[in-house]
Amino acid sequence: MHHHNHYYGQTHILSRYAGFDFDHPPRLRGYLQHGWNIGCGWNPVHEFYDGAWRFTWSDAPRRRGHALGRRNYHSIGAPFLYLMELEPEPEEPVEREGTLWFLFHGWEGGKIHGDHQRLIDEIRETEPGPVTFSLYYTEYDRPEVRGFYEDAGFRVVSFGRRGFSYEGTDRRFLFKQLAELRKHKRVAANRLSTAIFYGVAAGCEPAVYGDPMEMDGENPLFGGQSRIERLWPEMLGKTVDLEAARATTDLELGKPWMMPPAELRSLFDWRERV
């Protein structure tokens, strides 16, 4: 329904899981959460059409949305988890090494600002092995940002674009991210974010540290960084309790809310039609 549903190829993954075509997924009747956040699952000013159904990863965004006067929620679990089922790790996985480090990224409407050199220094001090630095294309395409990390000797990667208006979506974005995560022992970022949860789900040890940086037009409606510190302290720091992190990750990505393909087809109204 909404073009955001195609971001990172999430609908494509669910379509394949439900037994439909990956490249041309059926229209999804509602809104699909496309990233973890501390609010209702969408940005604070996201518009929804009347009576829209909202498919969240987990129950917490549903509860927060309910408090905002919104109804018609159903939690389904993050599509990334379904991808992990579709693309299981090889029986003999590659030996994990180093850290996949995610820089808090901006988006098409907002650039980030911060002290990249100080962050690099801190990463060098902290990370025991080689560092692969993941930049979203909004930073990857800015030589002045990418150069910092390349010059620091890090391997710099980007998984592609999430697209806009059904154009330019890298449908294998999450495939590439999953593959890269499975090569690394640690996942780290300067803010608690989707990538950290994906990393923990993919078997990495998480770490969240360094300058969180700032983004143009950040809306503090949901409480910002201080609320994250109050709600998820177990996910923050250079070393964290892995069991606690896994438990939180399962909850935030909605692992208990995952459902079998037939149920997903019914839920999305993806019945076979003439």
Binding site: Y49, W257, A262, L267
Partner: protein
């Protein structure tokens, strides 16, 4: 006192023409059987169904009945003959020696005629007490003005009581409206039963401790479902709330006070033509089925009454109660089999109440887990499965007191489908909160729950026409028919829709329209995005075509130039690797010409 035909006597205050409607009340009959002492001088006061009269006659030969309607009295005289002394007239017109037993289970609202004095409820009670011996057994009914159904009745007060309220009987300040007030008003020490629609009687102190989903609450709720009263809102929610408040004994349709009688059971509940009795134990309930011989649901006969023999549930035979039936999918029928009702039922709440709670909390993972556990527990059986009669203690499940079975064993998948279909109807019908979208309701949702219980989903088949039914329809068809058949025998289907449901349906229709408009907007928005994407691609194609055209023009211009021709000659000449050989060949060809 004068005498009419058929040995009917008449005292002051009789009514003619008039008749008082009565209905068989098997649970009450079973209660009277336990209460009425043998061979004592007995008065039945007010209109009582023949079945109830039979249960009294089974104990005593000296029985008198006082009814205000002459026509009813004559009919009773004809039906029962000399074994029942029938008097037509009003309570205040009866002068008699004291009775050892007085049965007034219909209450004191239909014991006076239009010619009687305006006696309050208390005055009528005094008149009754005057007819009772000092150690008499008295059974007295009282309609509850504070009953849940009364509170929810959608009719104005003056439209509720038909033609027999020539004086406002119910607006009587002396009339008790609680268990305590009733006990205080009676001149005898009494045991009080809460009467739910005359189908279920629960000892008041037991009802006061019953909580939502527990046996007395389940039976009370089911009994109220079968009462045909136009309501403002469904009663089920109120029953549960009252139970949570410990007020189940405060909201029944009536009470039955019993004075001077010995021990009875805690619960009497009608199920088809049999009666379940239950007694609370430390761990649950001991149950008994009082069965009656198979009998068509016709008018009572004048045959000599026989005592109904109580048996333990486990020992009762299926033949004892093959009475009420309903067709099922395979052409068979459902009937009540007392032998499948366990003789002990654990305490605990119904699975349905837990599922309702999980659905309202939108806790699908816990709902899924419970559904999976139920799927593991259920096995092929003749007993029709219903989640409102499966007891859950947090770890294990146990069957409740429903004895409705099919003739032949039903496959596990169909049993589960029947249970989920019934649950679906009750969840959606009662407009309870849940997390599933409207397009999923119906067969798809039942199928999804079946999937949670471990039943393989049907294979997706491509639709062949716009009207093609989804594969789930066939999967759940048998279960739905079983659930419908169960509804018929439980007599819980009512044709009267309550006001809240009607309002909610109207609001839902408006909401649906609102949401459909939103859906159209969403589709138009998607089309807008797609259109934008198409335009982007169209522009790109146009750009590429322009580039191609420019390149083609340039290419043709180059190909037509002298420079290009010379370059081609040079190019071909350059291809010649052995010029001497080529020269020799050319020379040979020239010579041959």
């Amino acid at each position: 006192m004068s005498e009419l035909a058929a040995g009917v006597q008449v005292v002051r205050g009789e009514m003619q023409p008039w008749t008082d409607h009565t209905t068989p009340r098997p649970a009450l009959a079973a209660l009277l059987t336990d209460v009425v002492p043998a061979n004592r001088r007995t008065l039945i006061l007010g209109p009582h169904a023949p079945q109830l009269i039979e249960s009294v006659l089974a104990h005593s030969a000296d029985v008198t009945i006082l009814v205000r309607s002459v026509a009813d009295a004559q009919q009773l005289g004809e039906d029962f003959g000399p074994c029942l002394q029938v008097i037509a007239g009003a309570l205040d017109g009866l002068q008699s020696e004291p009775y050892d037993v007085i049965i007034a289970s219909d209450g004191l609202d239909r014991v006076l005629g239009y010619d009687s004095a305006d006696l309050s409820w208390t005055a009528r009670l005094a008149a009754l007490a005057a007819l009772a011996a000092p150690d008499a057994v008295v059974v007295l009914g009282l309609e509850n003005e504070f009953s849940l159904l009364n509170l929810l009745d959608s009719r104005p007060a003056d439209e509720r009581h038909g033609d027999d309220e020539w004086r406002p009987l119910h607006d009587d300040p002396t009339r008790p409206v609680s268990v305590d007030q009733l006990k205080s008003a009676l001149p005898w020490t009494s045991e009080v039963y809460a009467d739910f629609g005359s189908r279920t009687f629960v000892r008041a102190d037991v009802a006061a401790t019953a909580r939502p989903g527990e046996l007395p609450t389940r039976l009370a709720g089911a009994a109220l479902e079968s009462v045909d009263v136009p309501l403002l809102s469904p009663a089920a929610e109120g029953v549960d709330t009252a139970a949570r408040a410990g007020l189940l004994a405060a909201i029944p349709t009536g009470w039955l006070a019993i004075a001077g009688a010995g021990a009875t059971h805690d619960v009497y509940a009608q199920s088809a033509d049999v009666v379940l009795t239950a007694d609370q134990t430390l761990t649950g309930w001991d149950t008994t089925i009082t069965g009656e011989p198979p009998a068509p649901a016709a008018a009572p006969t004048a045959t000599a009454p026989t005592a109904t023999a109580p048996t333990t549930a486990a020992a009762a035979t299926t033949a004892a109660a093959a009475t009420t039936t309903a067709p099922t999918a395979d052409g068979g029928s459902l009937f009540f089999d007392p032998s499948v009702v366990p003789s002990t039922v654990p305490s605990g709440v119904s699975v349905e109440s837990v599922l309702f709670r999980l659905a309202a909390a939108e806790d699908v993972p816990a709902f899924r887990k419970l559904a999976a556990d139920l799927g593991d527990w259920v096995t092929e059986s003749r007993l029709v499965l219903r989640w409102d009669d499966v007891i859950y203690d947090g770890d294990s499940f146990a069957y409740g007191v429903s004895g409705w079975v099919a003739e032949d064993p039903i496959e596990k998948e169909d049993l589960l489908a029947a249970a989920w279909a019934r649950f679906h109807d009750r969840l959606i019908g009662q407009r309870r909160r849940h997390p599933w979208p409207p397009w999923m309701l119906g067969d798809d949702l039942i199928s999804a729950w079946l999937g949670m219980s471990g039943v393989e989903p049907p294979e997706q088949t491509p639709a062949t026409s716009p009207d093609s039914l989804p594969a789930t329809t066939e999967q759940v068809a048998c279960g739905k028919e079983l659930a419908a058949a169960l509804d018929v025998v439980l007599e819980t289907s009512t044709t009267i829709v309550d006001v809240r449901t009607t309002l909610a349906e109207a609001e839902e229709a408006k909401q649906e329209l609102f949401e459909l408009k939103g859906h159209v907007y969403g589709l138009e928005r998607t089309l807008g995005f797609r259109n934008k994407a198409m335009k982007t691609r169209e522009n790109r194609i146009r750009e590429l075509r322009g580039q191609l055209q420019r390149l083609t023009t340039a290419h043709e211009r180059i190909r037509g130039s002298r420079t290009y021709a010379v370059s081609r000659v040079i190019f071909h000449a350059a291809q010649v690797r052995k010029p001497k050989v080529v020269a020799r060949k050319l020379a040979r060809r020239i010579r041959q010409r």
